[in-house]
Symmetry: C2
Subunit: 189 residues, 2 copies
């Protein structure tokens, strides 16, 4: 990326602090249920969900255009739909950053759930999400959102411009814990 | 900073999305009116304010402890009190980042005003703050908050861990524009 490509003008963007809706976003990415088949414990259940519901959206990302370059802070809204797959709460794929030693901040605006985090050495922790709770994922921790509620889990995320996303290692490694609905309460197993 | 000093555990912190109050913050910094004497156009008016009101707090910062190191994202709440000095709205000192080519994101949670931004080449822009408006200050732009309302202007700020603050250049250069109350409306002059 040239110095010119790294330059953008100051801008403002409206975010609904109750719903997390971003007005006039530039970029939109959706992840369909079918791409989540390798991630859930119950492969039959996620396949059934994809087929019976016509491969619905699983989660969405809304963002303004900010260069993927050091010195910038990338900003996005992450929206994870509610639901369960064989008793396991809906979740995102999860990722390390390509530049491993980079952090990410999640400010929950709507919904409830957890940010599940792990290191490549096998440590695993989770922090609750509820509106107004900011969760700080330090450098080198992989992270995945989990929606344990009945409405979309919406977070405002900030991460270094050059962080990048590494999804491949999580497909291989998985997370040491999964989050299931046990009698109406989330349980990590 | 050693690699060990750069490491922190994942954490969560509660932020009131209506008032911007941060619960259980680790660090608190206050800036008193007396230190603002060099910044306002009307030096007599700011001196009078300091003397007549017993040198009150002008603005405050609340934060959790996050290492000042590359890869981290530092997070803080900035709270600027409302008021005027010779018709000029209350403002922060403003700063460049020590690592000039680093950005900052401001999410306004309460109050109203502007983020005033300038480059060292003399460009000057401002973006409005109101609750839910996120203002992105790109790398290399100096920035200052201005409170044009009647209640505290509160923002959640994110910036690269290694950005640092350079206040000295702003004392020397100032900003090309100031914001005054003209008949009840903010005007940049």
């Amino acid at each position: 990326m040239t110095d010119t490509q790294k330059r953008i003008e100051p801008f403002g963007v409206e975010i609904d602090l109750l719903t997390g809706a971003m007005k006039d976003f530039d970029n939109y990415k959706k992840t369909m249920a079918s791409t989540m088949i390798p991630y859930y414990a119950d492969t039959d259940a996620i396949r059934d969900l994809v087929e019976s519901q016509g491969n619905p959206i699983h989660y969405e990302v809304f963002e303004k255009t900010i260069p993927e370059a050091a010195g910038h802070i990338r900003v996005c809204i992450s929206k994870l739909l509610p639901g369960k797959v064989g008793g396991e709460f809906f979740m995102t794929k999860g990722h390390y950053h390509t530049v491993l030693e980079t952090a990410e901040s999640y400010l929950c605006l709507a919904g409830e759930g957890f940010l599940l985090m792990k290191t490549s050495e096998g440590r695993c922790l989770w922090e609750p999400f509820r509106p107004g709770r900011l969760v700080y994922c330090p450098p080198s921790w992989a992270h995945r959102s989990i929606n344990t509620g009945s409405v979309p889990l919406v977070s405002l995320c900030h991460y270094p411009g050059d962080a990048g996303h590494n999804y491949g290692d999580i497909v291989e490694e998985g997370f040491p814990k999964r989050c299931f609905d046990r009698g109406g309460k989330p349980a990590f197993e």
